[in-house]
Amino acid sequence: MKVKLKIFRYDPENDKKPHYDKFVVEAEPTDRILDLLEWIKDYQDGTISYRRSCAHGVCGSDAMRINGVNRLACKVLVKDVGTKVTVQPILGLPIEKDLIVDMEPFFDSYKSVMPYFVGGEENPQKEQLQSPEDRERFDDTTKCILCAACTTSCPSFWANGEYVGPAAMVNAHRFIFDSRDQAAAERLKVLNDQYGVYRCHTIFNCTDACPREIQVTQAIGDLKKAIATSRLD
């Protein structure tokens, strides 16, 4: 089958404004959109720019808007989206070239919630054990690959880039609800702020966009509740 692609183009050195280029590619229904981009880059237009690394939905490099929603190009098949495909960069981050955005602001928000384990003792002599139930509490939010599909699907983030956004909150959730971690209060303080949980209006775009099927809105809801009640149960 023939697939028609319309791809967002912007070259910072030569273009004042972005435009769209059209390509026609021969494809199988089971080809991934990333395969089509690779084909175009190899055989039709080598200047087209996008990020990808693993090509298997693990590294989180290739989040983009495919037919108007955030998806990983390596996880969307031609048969999922049909033969007319529009590819655009994710929204709300500065566009560096074509489909490549500047992820720095996204990672700044990520860092602001202390996305690392803070243990109690300085030099623990044995493992800190955890019950399967306690582990289960944050299992969903361990799955994040930091592709930014959720954060850049959120209208609150589009409106204000200071909003820490769903991805940072998912990662805060990962540690806040870990029974061994000691820094929940500090993280909740960051989120109990005008740029924190209160900008979430339960729009669910993040949950829909997540390629790992993390229940993002649910994680944010847990955080809202934890802040409102000062309890983690």
Binding site: Y10, P12, P18, R65, N67, G68, V69, L91, G92, L93, P94, I95, E96, D102, P105, S153, P155, W158, A159, G161, H201, T202, I203, F204, N205, D208, Q215, T217, Q218, G221, D222, K224, K225, A228
Partner: protein, 129 residues
């Protein structure tokens, strides 16, 4: 130079967010709609009272028009019911997993009440009560 991060209003609207995004847009439109309605009412009352001016009456004509009334009745009803859904989701995050069912339930409440209300409104308009 990189293109700045700003997302245009229509660019944002074109994102295919689905039901909950639509619910949020309607919530905001209805919230602002109520503000417009109440503001017009206050301004019109003020000018009628203080100056008895004709254009105060013409403001009345705007918000007493059938279209505006249909809009404002929908706004009050939708905003209230949807607001209750949001409050429930915020207070009991456990309910977030039933968000789809809650949205159906919400329309099940909104549509009959709205239908009945416009039925009564239009009936009165015709009979001129």
């Amino acid at each position: 130079m990189a293109l700045d991060r700003r997302v245009g209003f229509f660019e944002g609207l074109k994102y295919k967010g689905g039901g909950p995004m639509l619910a949020w847009i309607l919530h905001r439109i209805s919230g602002l709609g109520m503000i417009v309605f109440i503001s017009l009412h206050v301004v019109a009352s003020f000018f009628t009272q203080e100056m008895g001016s004709d254009w105060a009456i013409s403001i009345n004509i705007v918000y007493e028009s059938v279209i505006f009334q249909l809009f404002i009745v929908f706004s009050v009803l939708y905003h209230g019911i949807n607001g209750i859904r949001i409050i429930i989701l915020d207070l009991w995050p456990r309910m977030l997993r039933y968000q789809k069912e809650m949205t159906w339930l919400q329309w099940l409440v909104v549509i009959p009440i709205y239908g009945l209300t416009i039925y009564i409104m239009i009936q009165r308009m015709i009979t001129g009560e």
